[in-house]
Amino acid sequence: MIRTGGQIVCEALIREGVDVIFGLPGGAILPLYQTLPQYPELRHILVRHEQGAAHAADGYARVTGRPGVAWATSGPGATNLVTGIATAQMDSVPMVVVTGQVGRAAIGSDAFQETDITGITLPITKHNYLVMHASEIARVIKEAFHIANTGRPGPVLVDIPKDVFTEEVEVDWGDEMALPGYKPNLKGHGLMVKRAANLINSAERPVIMAGHGIIISRAYDELRELAEKAQIPVITTLLGIGCFPENHVLSVGMPGMHGMAYANLAIEEADLLVALGMRFDDRITGDTSSFATGSKKIHVDVDPTEIGKNIAVDVPIVGDVKRVLKALNRQVHEASRMEWMHRIDDLKRDHPSMLIRETDKLIPQYVIREIAEATEGHAVIVTGVGQHQMWAAQHYTFNDPCTFVSSGGAGAMGYEVPGAMGAQVGRPDKVVWSIAGDGGFQMTMCELATLAENRIPVKIAIINNGFLGMVRQWQELFYEHSYVATGYSGNPDFVKLAESFGIFGARVTDKSQVRTVVEQAMEFDGPALVDFVVEQEENVYPMIPSGMSVKEMMEEPRPQEAVR
């Protein structure tokens, strides 16, 4: 079967089950694009900036568990993907990126739109390829998907020179993958699992810290079985949100810098941490030398380099968390731990981080609560990074996996709109809310055109405080209110902006309007944007300042009240 390189790319993607590609063409990738009409089963969504393509592929992957696919041309097309690729790498998101490259003869000559994208993305991809012959494409794409979506997932970039897309070869779909150095260890060491079970069985105050790994390996049921059988409170990390229902009696919320005070205190008082598919990020540990010093630690992760990297552990287990939990659950005894449960209840009562402060003004936490109520906690929430992200993580009640989608490790502002676009394309059955900051929104707002053009019905809530809010908060708390370069006095009229794209637009300035407008946005058949003009100098609490310990935790200093 004679095929061009471009045809092989398309057919290989179809063989991998790909149904949608986010991309933007240019000279070097044009021959690939020109084969697209032959493959109507591949839906292409034309973004307005390649960063949007990468974030959309990432959002798609996070809600479906299937690798997202992004295409871009050489040079600036490829470099514009970089933030999105780095985001996927940091958060272990499977993604396959295909970039066009200048023709083979021109490589290394500083040709027009030539950039060494494999060199640039080397430290921010799980692996990457420069394909120099069309005969290699079928095998390379097969390997790319395998690498992207097994072990610890991550982005794989495949760079293909322009003339390789047009090269005609006899394609062999039977080509085996050639990855002798890639063997993720999934099983978990039996002896270590036994030791972990013994530690759990003898612990008095154990805490589970469940991370993104639980979602990646679909280990929700196993996690729940462990928690319920052994009666262990469950803390979920930022990216682990949704892996354990937050309305469950054993849920203790999110830990870390802006985590629930009771979650951080529970970690501090625990005698055993059971860390599952998480990596002791510095936003969780703060000062590592004073983090959870009174506890033994079990750490399960599929990536051996994460174990012992930040925190010394007593029982390291390299393996897929679902398989490890299945084995562990058989050896864990039923327990009640009433005393510890009462202590957790006391911590929750004495440190009510979920309450929001009493005010008639429009505050961001209230907006999030209203969106949570209106969607009954079943929407997919996509955020950028900053205050709005933390409020969304804190005040939306997540009960389903894959419903909180956020740029965690990379902390990429601008993720919120294109990430939500990808999530909505991946889950057309779900209501998708993009909770955006007014800063991050403006970084990728060009994708409103993509949303409008494709009628992708994402609902955008701009938490508009006219500041780079989290940076302003640090300036207030640690730089004596010196607001250097954080005020956004030049914000556009977001409602008119939305309307100019043919998108529903509305502005909310008063608490009483929130619910009505949220409902209106959701009733609108298509993308919608709501500009919530909120209190400008609201802070995210609790807060443990960077690099400090739970002893330095600051809680909301003003009077609070429960909302409903």
């Binding site: 494999t118 060199g119 080397l122 430290p123 799980k126 692996h127 420069l130 690498i147 990855l179 002798p180 150095g181 890639y182 063997k183 260890n185 060491h189 270590m192 990536d303 051996p304 380099t305 174990i307 012992g308 990297k309 390291p316 287990i317 390299v318």
Partner: protein, 189 residues
């Protein structure tokens, strides 16, 4: 090939790691990029073909404490193009490097240099009117010692290959695949 990077972790004793890697374009770049990004310090690096066609073997001498070295080994293993990583620093191993040393010499010093070269079982491989080239094979300490002794004559140039290392004894012990290294890691290094 020897390369030296700036030391970010503080000097520590050298640990030796070998890696069996795919002989493909860019593999050396992937490996050194990982060292650079993670702030690990390569004291020396030697690369050459292995006994298996299409695979190369590398020997790294790495500065750092044992937990850093363990992280280096694990991060090497994580690279797709790396098939096998062996930490040979704590094992009974043979370690060798080759150095060429261009040293000043004249009729008055030549015989003294030849004596020193003889003691070290080194060779003089080139003689010019004002200098000669000494070739020495041995572990780092031996090469360092010879260079130190020759300094008093005036060392013009030193070329070192970097250490290569191999475990002593039967081949099975040397074969040390990913799973074995994981078990060792799991048992607390």
């Amino acid at each position: 090939m020897t390369m030296t990077m700036t030391d970010q972790n503080g000097a520590g004793p050298g640990h030796t790691i070998t890696a069996l890697v795919e002989d493909k374009p860019g593999v050396l770049n992937r490996i050194t990029s990982m060292f650079r990004r993670r702030g690990y310090n390569i004291a020396s690096l030697a690369v050459g073909p292995s006994e298996i066609p299409s695979l190369s073997r590398m020997t790294f001498v790495v500065d750092g404490n044992p937990s850093t070295v363990e992280q280096v080994a694990k991060n090497l293993n994580k690279l797709i193009d790396v098939l096998k990583v062996v930490n040979v620093s704590d094992e009974d191993s043979v370690r060798r490097e080759l150095a060429l040393i261009r040293v000043n010499s004249d009729v008055r010093t030549r015989s003294e240099i030849m004596q020193i070269v003889g003691i070290f079982r080194a060779n003089i491989v080139d003689v010019a009117s004002g200098s000669l080239i000494v070739e020495v094979i041995g572990d780092e300490d031996k090469v360092d010692a010879l260079i130190d002794l020759l300094r008093s004559f005036g060392v013009q140039e030193v070329m070192r290959t970097g250490t290569v290392a191999m475990r002593r004894g039967a081949h099975e012990r040397q074969s040390h695949h990913a799973e074995a290294s994981t078990i060792r890691m799991e048992s607390g290094l």
